[in-house]
């Protein structure tokens, strides 16, 4: 009854709200008697507050309170984990120091809040914040990972342990070997929306929160723990979120502090952070140094890979990510070892940033693959094909689906790969050098637990509900399409409600997993409705009495006999005749045990053409093709947008993005959008996206895998490889800025 067909492109369901300015993000809500909060940050990277003078600030017009470690209202669940801390079990408390906002004079990182100032207008709070003056006893801030690489520790979390297949030094004996170091600087998510929160205590133990979170349920749980109140009394709303890219994957300490202060002052309280605070208080992609050793035989077969990564984390929390994982399963190779270390520095804690560690790791692995292909004088695609694997060599089990060969082929055709010359620096257009590069990306495909509710109304309209947040990928649009495919209700008769804890519980938006998780729940809930409708129709006396369920189809708000187009009943009629005002079905959905028999990954291939000015070292991405092998595409239009967004992010990662610290002060010097260069319009060419669009038979009933991460993973490597092809210069430290390519004339 369900046809497995490619889905048509549809407009984003929340598009009209977004283009008219009607979409309300957390800071757009206004509550009576609302006050404004401004954070004062530490000006040192390590030490103690010796004194803090808040008298002037307290006396400034409109000020309602100045909160420091000396007078911060208590947070009853202070020592409970405040939600969403880095994955895995937390380290033992005695091995690591604690950061609890405004709880002590101790400074653990630059920009750490030392005061939160509350006033009755934004201007007044901001001005009063400028009047708070602190003196410090300074200690040396250890912020430079390069200087502390030897202090790496094994994180001791499942998934972060050293990996070995075959021999660790298997690469050494290979006829052709390669050793290379790759560096990723600190990158900052920098969604366009500033972080913050609007908190309103609606009763002594009930709370309304307008949040910037990728998961309203996670924020609800975090606040329930922090304030030791019933989660049911906490209502969190994030219908619209102005981008997350990972920074909203946890509840940050300043959010909890705002909630505590709001309770203390007895007024709704709004915090909108400043852009510079976005660099220190809501995470970042960690500075990571990687070494790859690779060996291959003269036929281009890999013999060994050793991949080691060391990344920064905070002194107070061990952040980990899957930087080296791709190396374990991407290519057929008998000897593979990986090693992942973290160094605790006087820095604020990182958080997963789009593609997260996999994007960091893919830059190294896919650059190394290109370097090796060059050593072997092989076409980079050919080299990858010679080491292609149809089964997962890490877990010795099949992939649930993998169409990567087709992706290589279609992407190569689209970019014009046959115009590429294997000899670097051999193509010019006038004064500009031309080069082509490619890279592979991959990311786990998941199916998490999720719930959803579907309500078919007597007028034939359908409502879909889930607490999930749509941070921009088009979740609401995809859920609409899934419901439409099951029930045949016209798209314009489907309303989807999301981003609110009053709706059925959903996982946090992240890990490219939401269509799979929440989409499956919507599918299941709608399938329950369908079953009831079919039962009503075919029962004795029903409009389609005596028919078999598998003869029926649903389309255009009708239940009909597939082979007899005239024989049909409108869903609204079916409900009316059965005296139903609504069919209301919920589903808690999760994958079955059979998923464990497969390795489930999405794949991408990125192709770029670059132009490089040999005099100035300027690099421009002149063409980009991104191919996604991520199962059935539910919403082709929004999926393509995710892919082009990955290209824009990838261009930034490859060419422009770097948050720079002056290690003498442990402080950022470019913590703003003028000096931290995210790609602008002029950096991004027209982009071709290609969807393989073949359903995965295992992962979920829609056959859909995720694509948010693979859109970015690998892209920076493709650019670096293209730059090498254009110039003969290999840049292993991102970003590839003009100075790194300069050669004297």
């Amino acid at each position: 009854m369900t046809k497995d067909l490619k889905n048509p492109p549809i407009d984003r369901v929340d598009g009209r709200m977004k283009v008219t300015g009607g979409a309300q993000y957390f800071a757009d809500f206004e509550l009576p008697n609302m006050a404004y909060c401004v954070i004062v940050g530490s000006e040192i990277g390590r030490g103690n507050i010796a004194s803090i003078d808040t008298k002037k600030a307290q006396g400034a017009p409109g000020v309602l309170g100045v909160f420091t470690h000396q007078n911060m209202p208590p947070i009853p669940g202070w020592d409970a984990p405040v939600g969403g801390e880095a994955d895995g079990p937390a380290p033992k408390p005695d091995t690591i120091e604690k950061y609890r906002i405004l709880s002590s004079p101790k400074i653990l990182f630059d920009g750490q809040p030392i005061a939160m100032v509350v006033a009755n207008s934004f201007e007044r709070a901001t001005y009063a914040a400028s009047l708070v003056k602190a003196t410090y006893t300074k200690q040396t801030a250890r912020t430079d990972l390069e200087k502390h690489l030897a202090e790496g520790i094994a994180p001791g979390r499942p998934g972060s342990s050293d990996y070995l297949r075959g021999k660790a030094d298997g690469y050494q004996s290979a006829p052709v070997t390669l050793e290379a170091n790759y560096t990723i600087p600190v990158e900052v998510h920098n969604p366009m929306e500033l972080h913050g929160i609007l908190a309103h205590w609606t009763g002594t133990d009930s709370l309304m929160i307008y949040a910037k979170t990728q998961g309203v349920n996670a924020t609800q749980d975090a606040m329930a723990q922090a304030f030791k109140i019933d989660p049911k009394k906490i209502h969190v709303h994030t219908e619209f979120m102005g981008g997350g890219f990972g920074m909203g994957l946890r509840t940050w300490p300043q959010e909890t502090a705002v909630v505590a202060i709001a309770r203390k002052i007895g007024r709704p309280l709004k915090l909108v952070m400043t852009r510079d605070q976005m660099f220190t208080l809501v995470g970042h992609r960690p500075y990571t140094v990687q070494t790859i050793n690779m060996g291959a035989d003269s036929n281009g077969k890999l013999i060994g890979i050793a991949h080691a990564a060391t990344a920064e984390t905070a002194s107070y929390e061990d952040f980990t990510e899957a930087t080296v994982n791709m190396t374990k399963f991407m290519y057929e190779c008998p000897n593979v070892s990986t090693r992942y270390r973290i160094v605790r520095l006087d820095r604020s804690v990182p958080i997963w940033m789009r593609g997260p560690g996999e994007a960091t790791g893919a830059f190294a692995l896919e650059s190394a693959m290109d370097e090796m292909a060059h050593k072997l004088n092989l076409d980079p695609i050919e080299f990858r094909l010679r080491n292609y694997t149809e089964t997962d060599p890490e877990h010795n089990r099949p992939y649930s689906s993998k169409n990567l060969k087709e992706a290589y082929q279609r992407g190569a055709e689209a970019i014009g790969w046959n115009k590429r010359k294997n000899e670097p620096a051999s193509q010019r257009d006038g004064d500009w050098l031309i080069g082509y590069g490619m890279s592979t990306g991959t990311f786990n495909a998941f199916r998490w637990e999720a719930s959803a509710r579907a309500l078919l109304n007597a007028d034939g309209s359908l409502t879909i509900q889930s607490a999930v947040t749509d941070i921009g990928p088009g979740t609401g649009t995809a859920l609409t399409m899934i419901a439409h495919n099951v029930l045949g209700v016209p798209l314009n008769r489907i309303k989807v409600a999301y981003g609110d804890t009053s709706l059925p519980k959903a996982p946090t938006q992240g890990g490219s997993a939401i269509v799979s998780a929440v989409g499956s729940a919507v599918y299941d809930a709608c399938t329950k409705i369908k079953k009831q409708l079919v039962d009503l129709a075919v029962k004795d006396g029903g409009q389609l009495a005596g028919r078999q369920a598998d003869e029926l189809m649903m389309a255009d708000g009708m239940l009909s006999i597939e082979k007899e187009p005239g024989k049909k009943v409108a869903l609204s009629d079916l409900m009316r005749t059965n005296n139903l005002t609504v069919i209301d079905k919920s589903a808690d959905s999760k994958g079955g045990p059979e998923l464990g028999k497969y390795s489930m990954y999405s794949f991408s291939v990125h192709f770029v053409q670059v132009r490089v000015n040999p005099l100035t070292g300027v690099v421009r991405v002149s063409k980009a093709v991104s191919v996604a092998d991520s199962g059935r595409i539910i919403s082709p239009k929004t999926a393509a947008s995710q892919m082009i967004g990955g290209v824009a992010g990838g261009i930034g990662m490859a060419l422009t993005e770097e948050a720079i610290i002056d290690h003498r002060f442990g402080r950022f010097v470019n913590n703003n959008l003028a000096d931290y260069h995210v790609a602008v319009h002029a950096d991004v060419p027209a982009i071709e996206t290609i969807m393989i669009d073949k359903p995965d038979p295992i992962i979920n009933p829609m056959g859909a895998k995720g694509m948010g991460e693979i859109a970015l993973i690998g892209f920076a490597g493709a650019v670096a490889n293209a730059v090498f092809n254009a110039t003969g210069q290999r840049v292993r430290d991102l970003p590839i800025t003009p100075d790194k390519l300069l050669r004297a004339v």
Binding site: S121, M192, E193, G243, G472, G649
Partner: protein, 211 residues
């Protein structure tokens, strides 16, 4: 006091409320009108409302076709005025320093960054925000084109992109995709919808609809 009488001869009438306040307030007349003095006044126990009165100035500005008569602190930016006082929250704050374009509005038909525009400098001007460009029922062609081409994801930079896009065409800077990319570079989209935004703008431009 003499100093301000002098100013009265020289200047326009923007100072009138303050001058009147000064004239009426013998307690404060001796104070220079400085922020330091204002906080001193608070320290001296004077009523905050009094301080507020002498911190606020009159502003008349046409916003989306409605003449507004306002009283604001001179330090208030056009962006914060729109968002926090006039509840026009379609205009977004992305950086507050003129580095992202999320706050783009039109002042007398010119696209500007509202975050770096003191509201007082818009006296007598016409301000147009996204709410004044089109509505849910009657969208501007550029708004339609953004939906058609999916020129956004999270939607946060979108009002600024659209206001900028309309101006880009009106200025005559939308003659080809490369020109659009250059003249739209003041509007950052972190979701990376650039390619679709350029398509939307070129579509409107080539459609020939008057924007």
């Amino acid at each position: 006091m003499a100093e301000y009488e002098h100013l009265e001869d020289e200047f326009g009438n923007a100072d009138s409320s303050r001058r009147n306040f000064l004239k009426q307030s013998s307690a404060l007349a001796a104070l220079a009108l400085t922020p330091v003095a204002a906080s001193a006044a608070i320290d001296n126990g004077l009523d905050e409302k009094m301080a507020a009165a002498f911190e606020q100035m009159p502003l008349q500005v046409d916003i989306n076709g409605t003449m507004r008569k306002l009283s604001i602190e001179p330090r208030v930016t056009l962006l914060d005025l729109l968002r926090e006082q006039l509840h026009l929250t379609g205009t977004k704050k992305g950086c507050d320093h003129g580095q992202c374009g999320a706050c783009t509005v039109h002042v007398d038909g010119q696209r500007v960054n509202a975050c770096l525009t003191l509201a007082m400098t818009t006296e007598g001007c016409k301000v147009t925000t996204i709410e004044g460009l089109g509505t849910l029922d009657q969208m501007h062609p550029m708004q339609e084109a953004f939906i058609k081409h999916d020129g956004f994801q999270c939607g946060y930079c979108t009002p600024g992109q659209i206001m900028s896009a309309v101006a880009c065409i009106r200025e005559g800077h939308a003659n080809n995709p490369d020109e659009v990319r250059e003249y739209m570079s003041g509007n950052i989209c972190r979701c990376g919808a650039y390619a679709n935004i350029v398509d939307a703008i070129m579509d409107v431009k080539q459609g020939g609809v008057r924007v």
